[in-house]
Assembly symmetry: C2
Homo-oligomer: 406 residues x 2
C-alpha cells in the first residue's frame, strides 16, 4: 500500500464526462489498495469567468477579495468531484485549503505555502476516505483565504506529497508526458520516460508549460517523485526525480519560446558599472533578464543586448528611455520578432561537442544565430521568429534519433 | 451611531447593476455614521444551477458535499459585493461563515445555528470596515462546512443581529414590505407599517413568503427588531417587533395557501388511541399536519380528516395505506384540489365576531367551507382550490377598508 497524491487540472474536470473519467482514475488507484489524496483545480474557464465578473464591477479589486472569489472555483470542483466519486460507491471527503491545513503567507493572490498541517487529511485517510483537496488555496495568519497564483494547484499537490511523504505525486494534464519537443509540431518528438528536476525546470522555463516551476522546485527540495501523465489516455507518463537512469540520450528536449524580446543599447560608455546600473534598474521592476550579450569595447563605447519576456519589453524600454539619465541620447532598440530555441539535458555538460552540433544543425537549415547563452544543462540561441519552427525541427533531428523509443 | 444588519437576497444581487444598487444602499447607511454588517445570499439562480450540476453527476449526493458545493454560491456573491463596495471607495471586508463565527449543528443541509462568535466581525467593524458576511452557511464541530437550509440567509442575519445586539435587522427583498394580502392579486391590499412577531409567523406559515419562519422565531426569541423592505424602491418597509402600536385594524392579513392536500380516513373504529396512532405514524416521518377534523362517532366508527402540505400527500397516503395494519381495508381519500384561506391578527382574539364575519364574507361569495381551524391570532378555512382567489378578495374586502392608509 502506497500513499499517492493525484492532481487534476481544470481541463481534466471541465464537465460531467471528464469528472467521471477522473473519478474512475482515482477509483482504480484506491481499489488497488492505495491511500489517495486528490488535488483539483477549478473547472475549465471558471477562474477566468470569475475574474471577468469582478472586473465588470471594479477594474482594480483588492487581492484579498479576489482570493475569496477565485477560491470558490476550486471549492465547487472539489465538491463536484467528491460527489462523482460517491456515485461510484467509494468513501470520499472533500477538504478546502483551510481544512486541509494549507498555511500560507498573507500575500493575497501570490501567496506562498509556509506549512501543510495535514492532520485532517490523515484523519480522513485513516477512515479509509479518498480525500479531495481544493488546490490553489490556503489561509494566512489572519485567517483570510489566500490563493497561490498561477499554476498553484501543482504546488498544492507537491506540498501535500512533501508534508505526508507520499510515495508519488501524479500530475494529470492534457498531454501524455514530457516530450523531446512539441509533439503537435515536431515529427519524431519522443515522450521521455524519466527526466531530472533540473532538466524539468529548464524545460518549464523555456516554455514547455507542462509543470509549474514552483512545484518542480519544491519537489526537488523535498525529494518528491513526480509523474506527469494524461488524464485522457491511460499510458505511463514521465517521471521527474533527482537521478534518472536513461543514459542513451544527450539532449532531453528541444524547446521554442516566442514570448521573448531583444533589447539593445548601443554606444554606452565603456566604463565599469554600466551593466550593473542597467540591470539593477530592470531588476528593481521585477523583470527577469535572460540572455545577456555585451560587445567588446571600441572607441570608448560598447553595446549591450539582452532578452526579456515580451510582456515586459515595453516596461523595460521605458526604464531605459528618457527616465534613465545614464542612457540619455543613446540608441535603445527593441526587437520582438525573435524566438529562443534551447536544448536541455543533464548529459550535455560532459559532452563538449553539444553546442557545436546544435549550431551545425542551425547552419544546415540556413538560420542565423543572434545571441547565444549556455548553462550546465542548457544551450539557448536567439533567432528570427520566422525561423523558429524550422530551427526546432532541425535541431531535434540532430539530437533525437527518429527510431528512439523510450 | 447604530449597528445595522442588512440582508440582501439572491434576486437583489443577481447581476452587476443590482450589486451596484445594493452597494449604494449599504454606502448610504455607512455614510450616515452607522456600523454596517451585510449578509448576502447567492446570486440569482446560482444555487439551483449548482444543484443541477451535482444531480447530473449523482442523483443522491451526500449532504456534506452539497454543503461544500452550495456554500460557494454565497462565497462568490459576498466577494463580488465587497468588490463593488471597494469601487465606491469605502473600506470593506468579506467574511465566510466560518470566519464570521457561525457555529452550527452538524446536520448538513439543514443545520441550526448554535452560536455566533462574532469576534472577527467586531474586529473588522472596529477598523471601520463594512463587513459583508456570506449567509446560509457555518461550520460544525468537525470543522466541516454546513448550510442552514432554505431561507437560511435570513436566519444568518437575525443571528448576527442577536449576537451583536444590533439596533435593527433589515431584510431587503423584492417586495416593499408585508401586505394585508398579495398586492399583485388583491386590489386594495395595504402595506403594513408594523406587525408583531406572532402575526408575522402566522403569515409566513400561511404562504406570505416574505420572511423565513426560523428567522422570525429567532428574532422574537432575542428581541431583534426586523424591517422588511425593498432593495429596488427606497420606501419604508414593514417593522416586525413584539408590540405594535397600530390598533385600528382587526386583521393583519389575508392569505391563500394552495400547497395543501386534504386526507380523509373513513370508518375507523371509534376507540381510544386511534388519532394518536395515526398522527404519531405521520409525525415520525416529519410530516406536519395542519387542520384536523374528526367526526362524531356513529355506529362504532368515525371519520378523521386532516391537511398536509401537497408535497407530503403521497408519503402520508402510503403511510396510511396497506403498510398500516390498523387501517387495512379502510377508505383513505386524498384531495389535492383544495386551498387554505386564513386571516391573521393579534387583535382578533378579543373580538368574538371575527370568525362569523369571515364566514359571512365567504357565504356572500357563495363559497363552501370544508374545514375550519382557529388559533388565538388566526382563523383558517379549507375550500375548493378554484374558489381561492375569490375567497381572499371577499374576505379582504370585509376586513380591510379600501381607503386604509397605514
Amino acid at each position: 500500500m502506497a500513499l499517492i497524491v493525484q492532481k487534476f487540472g481544470g481541463s481534466s474536470v471541465a464537465d460531467a464526462d471528464r469528472l467521471r473519467n477522473v473519478a474512475s482514475i482515482i477509483a482504480e488507484t484506491y481499489r488497488a489498495g492505495n491511500d489517495v489524496v486528490v488535488v483539483v483545480s477549478a473547472q475549465g474557464d471558471t477562474t477566468d469567468d470569475l475574474i471577468a465578473k469582478a472586473k465588470e464591477l471594479n477594474e482594480s479589486p483588492s487581492r484579498r477579495e479576489m482570493d475569496v472569489l477565485l477560491s470558490a472555483g476550486e471549492q465547487m470542483s472539489c465538491a463536484l468531484l467528491a460527489i462523482t466519486i460517491e456515485k461510484m460507491g467509494l468513501p470520499v471527503c472533500s477538504l478546502l485549503g483551510w481544512q486541509a491545513g494549507f498555511q500560507t503567507t498573507s500575500a493575497y493572490g501570490i501567496a506562498r505555502i509556509k506549512n501543510v498541517k495535514a492532520d485532517r487529511i490523515r484523519i480522513e485517510l485513516d477512515k479509509k476516505n479518498i480525500v479531495v483537496v481544493a488546490g490553489f488555496q490556503g489561509i494566512c495568519k489572519y485567517d483570510d483565504i489566500t490563493t497561490l497564483g498561477r499554476g498553484g494547484s501543482d504546488t498544492s499537490a507537491v506540498a501535500i506529497a512533501a508534508a505526508m511523504h507520499a510515495d508519488r505525486c501524479q500530475i494529470y494534464t492534457d498531454v501524455e508526458g514530457v516530450y523531446t519537443a512539441d509533439p503537435r509540431k515536431i515529427k519524431g518528438a519522443v515522450k521521455l520516460s524519466e527526466i531530472t528536476y533540473d532538466e524539468m525546470l529548464e524545460l518549464a522555463t523555456l516554455g514547455a508549460q507542462v509543470l509549474n516551476n514552483r512545484s518542480v522546485e519544491m519537489a526537488k527540495k523535498y525529494g518528491v517523485v513526480l509523474e506527469v501523465l494524461s488524464s485522457m489516455k491511460r499510458v505511463p507518463g514521465t517521471i521527474v526525480k533527482e537521478v534518472v537512469s536513461v543514459e542513451k540520450m544527450l539532449v532531453r528536449g528541444v524547446t521554442k519560446d516566442v514570448n521573448v524580446a531583444r533589447i539593445s543599447v548601443l554606444g554606452v560608455p565603456d566604463v565599469p558599472g554600466i551593466a550593473f546600473k542597467i540591470f539593477s534598474k530592470i531588476a528593481a521592476k521585477n523583470i527577469n533578464v535572460d540572455i545577456i550579450l555585451q560587445s567588446v569595447g571600441r572607441d570608448g563605447t560598447k553595446d549591450i543586448a539582452f532578452t526579456v519576456s515580451r510582456d515586459h519589453a515595453q516596461t523595460a524600454m521605458e526604464l531605459l528611455g528618457d527616465s534613465f539619465e545614464l542612457l540619455r541620447g543613446k540608441t535603445v532598440l527593441c526587437d520582438t520578432d525573435v524566438a529562443k530555441i534551447s536544448i536541455v539535458g543533464a548529459g550535455m555538460e560532459t559532452h563538449p561537442g553539444t553546442a557545436a552540433k546544435m549550431f551545425e544543425a542551425l547552419y544546415e537549415a540556413d538560420i542565423n544565430i543572434q545571441m547565444i547563452a549556455t548553462s550546465e544543462i542548457k544551450i539557448s540561441v536567439l533567432i528570427d521568429a520566422k525561423d523558429a519552427d524550422r530551427a526546432v525541427d532541425s535541431v531535434h533531428r540532430a539530437f533525437v534519433p527518429e527510431d528512439l523509443v523510450l
